[in-house]
Symmetry: C2
Subunit: 327 residues, 2 copies
Amino acid sequence: MDIEALATGILAGERRALARAITLVESGRADHRQSAMALIERLNAADHGRQAMRIGLSGTPGVGKSTFIESFGMMLTGQGLKVAVLAVDPSSARSGGSILGDKTRMEHLSREKNAFIRPSPSQSHLGGVARRTREAIGLCEAAGFDVVLVETVGVGQSETVVAEMTDLFLLLLAPAGGDELQGVKRGIMEMADIILINKADGELKSQAVRTCADYAGALRLLRKRPQDPEGFPKALTVSAVEETGLAKAWEEMQSLTEWRREAGHFEARRAGQARYWFEAEVREGLLARLKREPVKGALERMALEVEAGEVTPAAAADTLLRDYLGG
Amino acid sequence: MDIEALATGILAGERRALARAITLVESGRADHRQSAMALIERLNAADHGRQAMRIGLSGTPGVGKSTFIESFGMMLTGQGLKVAVLAVDPSSARSGGSILGDKTRMEHLSREKNAFIRPSPSQSHLGGVARRTREAIGLCEAAGFDVVLVETVGVGQSETVVAEMTDLFLLLLAPAGGDELQGVKRGIMEMADIILINKADGELKSQAVRTCADYAGALRLLRKRPQDPEGFPKALTVSAVEETGLAKAWEEMQSLTEWRREAGHFEARRAGQARYWFEAEVREGLLARLKREPVKGALERMALEVEAGEVTPAAAADTLLRDYLGG
Ligand SMILES: Nc1nc2c(ncn2[C@@H]2O[C@H](COP(=O)(O)OP(=O)(O)OP(=O)(O)O)[C@@H](O)[C@H]2O)c(=O)[nH]1
Ligand SMILES: Nc1nc2c(ncn2[C@@H]2O[C@H](COP(=O)(O)OP(=O)(O)OP(=O)(O)O)[C@@H](O)[C@H]2O)c(=O)[nH]1
Ligand SMILES: [Mg+2]
Ligand SMILES: [Mg+2]
């Protein structure tokens, strides 16, 4: 693997080099991992100073994420911006990755020279969803992309993961009436900087406006965060199909980012995220030892005893640490 | 330390034995820890079959937690039930523990023979907030208490900790108008089984009713959990001072618990919690190694380099694990 050539290619903004580099960070092979780390160190040392706006985007299936990315991405490339699209899909039940099949829904964007769309890898390749995506973001940034969109389907912890690696977080919701309004997972609203009610068009428009007001109300019930200027987080309506509200949404993202830059929150968040991922990698490395035999088998055996009340959690933990983890 | 005598005393429901045992589990001394574990094992082996209703109670300062516990606790002891009150206060800025000074607010309950109130220990004694409280709950249960109330001031992660050791979780809120409705920390609503709007009396009554409706609305925006029967989580108004709404709240707690018992959620939750704490103790034991020198110093040094972008999170973690943690 010619790391130097790959690094040069990426810094020159070559899509093929970028694609190959992402494949490298996605690989589970130990030698690939070594190369990936060398590449990333190499790019880090290049001190390119490029900084993309990293945008997380979450929403349940069918809410219109792909359609939104297509329209929103086309608007941005139309303004001369380079746009990369990545996906985090930890469950990855969908064969072949989440965006791949969607390239049909991103018909124009996928043919756009200033856009780069990367499907999430199939499950077999997964070697740390968070690390993979986080490193891919860094590669896109090094390749000179202005905006990196990270899509995630709202399952479990994936939003948290995405929020910890992006500068701002969008939650895409569908218009809903009355009883249907149960769809937002608790704790997700917590992360949103901007809630976008999509499909605000045709028959759904008035419903979208009402839903938007409902969520605006719900957002007001939550405590203000230091990283939010007056009026944020906010709820807006958009139509990915009719391409309305997109410019306004982009304006809000820019003004929010601007404010955070000036207030020092932007850099602080990035530094905090870097520390967060460092500590997470250390912890994961340490905890990975629990997944190796014979620790793993012993842990499960004892967990069953604990569940059954035969031994208390503390005593069982004590035994395990002493007998299997050299503590 | 005569563990056998202590165990016998607790099983006989003696308050002095219970108080001494809690002091033991709170201690940070290694020999005390050994005794505490022996005691807990001994009680576990006694197979007493006693099961309290473990109720978590959270709310910001001044919302009326102490007053509520006084009124609610007196109502329960009036019905012949034995009530224990514990506190989780991880920040413990308040000197001498959070309930101690409050005993004046629990004037009647603190003199009630069927009630047991335990202040949270001062910070110096803290040796794992979660473990201490969880084990104290177990001791109260072994001592034959019917209801164990675990109070926490809503700071950071303490609600999560309490929710993971209780059977149901109450969130106490104050009536608020319009702009004031920003007080609920995101993610907390997620845990609540019942939201109680306190101070629904006098001038505040109509405001409390409106606030209650607002939160009922907000709860409907959240996704239904499998452990909830129709209509839960719900919001109710109470007045701790006028003692209204308390019987209704208790009724709801009982019917919720009943439903969960029949549906198997109650036992499943307890078993899940036991496993959770076992795994948490194992992880904590392992991660405690990061807090010992020289690992600790190296971690902090490298974290600063990571924050400054001099080295990437993955590379830094790799180095730390290799050089300091025998990986
Ligand atoms: N009316 C209307 N329909 C839309 C809009 N955006 C998306 N849709 C439709 O909603 C359906 C789902 O859109 P997608 O973009 O595939 O949704 P998704 O969130 O990517 O779904 P998954 O990839 O399955 O998670 C499609 O039929 C779209 O045409 C919109 O703004 N208005
Ligand atoms: N009107 C009214 N006042 C109440 C009620 N409950 C409590 N209060 C008052 O609210 C104030 C705070 O009550 P506490 O019970 O000390 O509140 P707390 O939540 O325990 O506060 P901290 O211990 O500081 O976290 C006191 O002045 C109480 O008298 C109620 O039901 N109605
Ligand atoms: Mg899609
Ligand atoms: Mg109090």
